[in-house]
Amino acid sequence: MVKAAPPTRADYYRVLEQILPPGTLVVTALGNASYLWAAMHHTPENFYIEDAMGLALPLALGLAIAQPTRRVVVVEGDGAILMHMGALATLGAVAPSNLTVLLIQNGVHAASGGQPLTNASLDLAQLARSAGVGHAAKVETAENFAKALRSAFAADALQVIVLATEPDPNVVKPPVTLDPVLTKHRFMAAIGAPRYVPTIFGGGRFE
């Protein structure tokens, strides 16, 4: 009996693209997490992390707090979680009901060339539950990811979904510029975030 190969990152992204409600805010980690998502589903509501390894999850947590009426999805990697595991504890403590966390588990530092993780076999879903996340599960097929994602979007609760996959070492070339400041301004304009209007003297105002 030959075990089927796990879904690729692209397979999972195709499911995400199909199920994602319009207007959902999506934060993606460095490397192919951002490049591939930009190639498949570029919208102003995407916030691409250019570098800043391990900080996609806490940034998305802050975003979910600031935008409690919008659904926020973050795509983070297993290497990044190992780098900032404390963020899981903060996530569990804050538990924003509008946040869905997708953890790509490929066992390597994919963005830096595929070096093995310090511990590639951690049960990340169990880890998330231990950190206080009420709903966390690992999926190994695109079908189960679709079910888990629909369930997550239907529920009013923080969810962590661990996506088992293989490394994708070939770097995807994003079709759009991922200029960080442009990304930020485009994103903030899309969600109607207050804008600071500077003045010459005495400080500006928010509009």
């Binding site: 250019e50 900080l55 707090i65 600031a66 404390g86 990304t183």
Partner: protein, 175 residues
Amino acid sequence: MNSSGLQSSATHRPSEVLETLQRLGFGAAVAVPDSWLGEVLVRIERQTTIRLVRATHEEEALAIACGARLGGVRTVMFVQNAGMLSMGAGMVTLAQRYQFPLLILVSYRGTPEDPVFYHVGKARATEPVLRGLGVAYQRCDGSRPIGTQVEAAATYAEEASSPFALLLSREDIQW
């Protein structure tokens, strides 16, 4: 006179910090506490206009603050100066690279007026590290009201689209 020999403001300076943040419309605070910051964080939790998030590490706190600001909420950080030493990568790759205006209120431990002398190494490194990272900062002047200094720091962050660190003494921030 305070312990550094400077004339103190007549007001309770930590109260003035909190009142200024409320007046300026800050909606979120992200913190990693130390002993000087402990009580002001409790006071923030007791009020309703600023939401406090307690993070586990200062670089993580920085990212949470960037996310909150990305979502349109004016955000302040409370950290010890040790945190300024440990958040360097996030500072340059996220907060500065994406030009997030963040007010960072820093308990400046290890100066001669700090009775806990194991902090001295942090004080020695803090300002050189901030300069090395390119983080704009200022030491709070104990002879002047703190509210105007907090407001100026917050305005600088917005005008410069960058983080700004205001370094605080014990009288400034310990409730």
